[in-house]
Amino acid sequence: MKKKIAMYWGAGCGGCDVSLLGVHEKLLDLLGEVDIVFWPCAMDFKYEDLEKMEDGSIDIAFYNGAIRTSENEEIAKLLRKKAKMLVAYGSCATEGCVIGLANLYAREEIFDAIYLNNETTPDGKIPSHELPEFLPVLKTLDSVVKVDAFIPGCPPPKPVLEAALNALLNGKTDFLSNLALCDECPRRDSKPDKLEINEIKRWHSSNDDGRCFLAQGIICMGLATRAGCKAECITASIPCTGCMGGVDGLSGVSAMSAIASLINGEDEEKERKIIESIEDVVGTFFKYSAAKLLPYGRVKDES
């Protein structure tokens, strides 16, 4: 019997929906094996249709995007009820992703920046129509409902997605690599035996000489990020920013720990300068996992 699958788009950019098309001709095989019973982005389904389905009647429900509105939350709970297996699809659903950085700010500050004090919004006012509530913080899927499997990535890279779909359709959930990205990095051989960072450089203002980014003083999250993407970014000469998440726990914490210890520490003053020069610690190390770092939003402890 064909498996029934659903795909929902929560708070996200839409890239995840597109990434499913990125498996190219494999999609045709996939479509042959499954029945899509709900995919609002691609086909005409209404929430009512979903409500009418029997509980547990969907085999696999993929949820992409984070939970930012009451609507997102409602559908997450509904899908959980209707599906045997609920899968967090992509970085937003898994770790909150880039939009999770919004947890550094209060809801009022966000409204202020978007609606009230925004150059491109004259006479701004906060919309008062009947819209789903914008929740006080951004949540990841697993903080709202039980999740059976996670497909990381922003969006999930092709090799990861293929492995995941293959496994999930066969009832398996162990499709992720347990190695760090350095393991499959094309620049791996240029990593010196003893890495030492004497200066932190920003990628866009440095001349990439083709060696291991860390050896050049450019922060690369590869050392703490899960492998599996086949180092797509590095191949395109861009350091890893960690969208695949950590191998075990938050990649940001491991990367901070590792990179801090690689900094030249002969001289206390010098090491302080180097560390001070790391701008935006949350944005650098927790670009995709700020919602996990701050699940209740910014801490109020300014005193």
Partner: protein, 135 residues
């Protein structure tokens, strides 16, 4: 009820923990607000330990290691120094007052210093008030 700070103290086995022991056997007084956790070296302390403590109700985190040059594993305390510096930056961005994290060098003979810095730290945290990381 008055506020009693909860402080997690990670102390390295070879210096700070021995210093704390010495404070004890010398019958020096210091507030009972600290929960000491012995680690082999201050270099063993991952920023995750610190975040974990804050997430689970600590109002302050104290880290005690050997003086520079004295680490039993040669460089562990230098690693700790850099990690704590970076972690303080992270805490600030998260909205947590960086004063809630403190690194001190305490040798095995410095029982008095241990009692002093802990007393000071407890007072400082008492002034700051409870950390409500869950709100």
């Amino acid at each position: 009820m008055s506020f009693e700070p909860k402080i997690v103290a990670f102390l390295c086995n070879w210096c700070a923990y021995a210093g704390a022991d010495l404070a004890g056997v010398s019958r020096l007084k210091y507030p009972a607000n600290i929960i000491p956790i012995r680690v082999l070296c201050s270099g063993r302390i991952d920023p995750e330990f610190i975040l974990h403590a804050f997430r689970n109700g600590a109002d302050g985190v104290f880290i005690g290691g050997c003086h520079p040059g004295d680490c039993h594993y040669i460089k562990g305390n230098y690693h700790a120094r850099r990690r704590i510096l970076l972690t303080k930056k992270l805490l600030k961005e998260m909205g947590i007052n960086e004063k809630r994290l403190r690194l001190e060098w305490v040798s095995a003979t410095e029982g008095r210093k241990f009692a002093n810095v802990v007393s000071q730290f407890v007072e400082e945290i008492r002034q700051l008030g409870p950390l409500e990381a869950k709100k």
